[in-house]
Subunit: 227 residues, 2 copies
Amino acid sequence: QLLEALQTTGVNGPLAGLHILLTAGPTREPIDPVRYLSNRSSGRMGFALAAAARRAGAQVTLVHGPVTIPIPAGIEAVAVETAQQMHTAVMSRVSSADVFIATAAVADYRPESPASEKIKKQSEHLQLELARTSDILAEVAALPRRPFVVGFAAETQQVKQHALAKLESKQLDMIAANDVSAGQGFDQEDNALQVFWPGGEHMLPRQSKHQLAEALLQLVAERVKQK
Amino acid sequence: QLLEALQTTGVNGPLAGLHILLTAGPTREPIDPVRYLSNRSSGRMGFALAAAARRAGAQVTLVHGPVTIPIPAGIEAVAVETAQQMHTAVMSRVSSADVFIATAAVADYRPESPASEKIKKQSEHLQLELARTSDILAEVAALPRRPFVVGFAAETQQVKQHALAKLESKQLDMIAANDVSAGQGFDQEDNALQVFWPGGEHMLPRQSKHQLAEALLQLVAERVKQK
């Protein structure tokens, strides 16, 4: 039983001794008490990475938006709803993290002035005023003492080009890009990832998100050691 | 076993011989391939009503938006995503329905021109142009040969006043109103309903959505008989 416990908690795993902070799932940005803006992220990739990181011996903190999948055993889970709440939860925990993996599909825009009462429908047309949210990934990457920072890019076109631009502009250590067009990626059980880092890349072919999580963490472990 | 089958399918139940068409859950209105507008409806009230109607002997058709709860046994379920899809699914099935119960939280507005590719974030501010969706409940109530029409009103203030206004303006046979402020109603296991019809009303106190469903169907059965 002790041996089993050691194996399952992975104290000798490739990520033993590291604190990994992840974000996962969508955020919800309130329009009024019942309506919101969101996106199709299921959280599965982030949850699979959290579980795999735990199995590989890491201490894992998972900040996640509204999802319908179970929390992996043995990790610290922090449930949030909005991009602002996710920002607060991440920034208050990042100083102790060795690796930050941002899989969450954080809303880029939120309604500028959410209504405190349900908005009654009136005219045929309506303009919803949106304002940018904080860029959690860029803020973490810009910290003076920062963890190893891994971003995700969900794109529907020019996947590699957008991923490389994001790697460069946000000064990430690694980016994992996937094509979410035509029903791939979001809300699917399996996925493929193109992984880029400054001076290198690796293609992870289509497989279950659990297998993909292990393969991606393998790349992370190798790159963290080389830094 | 035959007796059990008769009891569970309710061939002698209070709604035996009636076809009940229900809508449930939220709708999702695409902004682009990954982002959408939606609302906090869990679908639980509509699903509880569908199950209770089946137990009471009705033939049940349930048109539902994206939900995470299981489909009750013995009913015809039609999964849709947008308000437009829900409209089409309802209008093509309503002619055979004796009772229409609209519990779905159908989006009142949808993005006017959904983008076919993921919108890249750019400026600090953005205006999202919205257009009204079809009013499924009002259209069904306005049919020359219409079923008994039950609406729902989820309100955060002046619940009775808004419910009576909706009963009158849409010429419904019945309306069930609930207060969704302060965490009540939406996405909760239990709820309370104020039920109104032309010339009458009944308060259903806070209880599980399954008990509430049976009590509401009892009121519907009484009123259908009197029509």
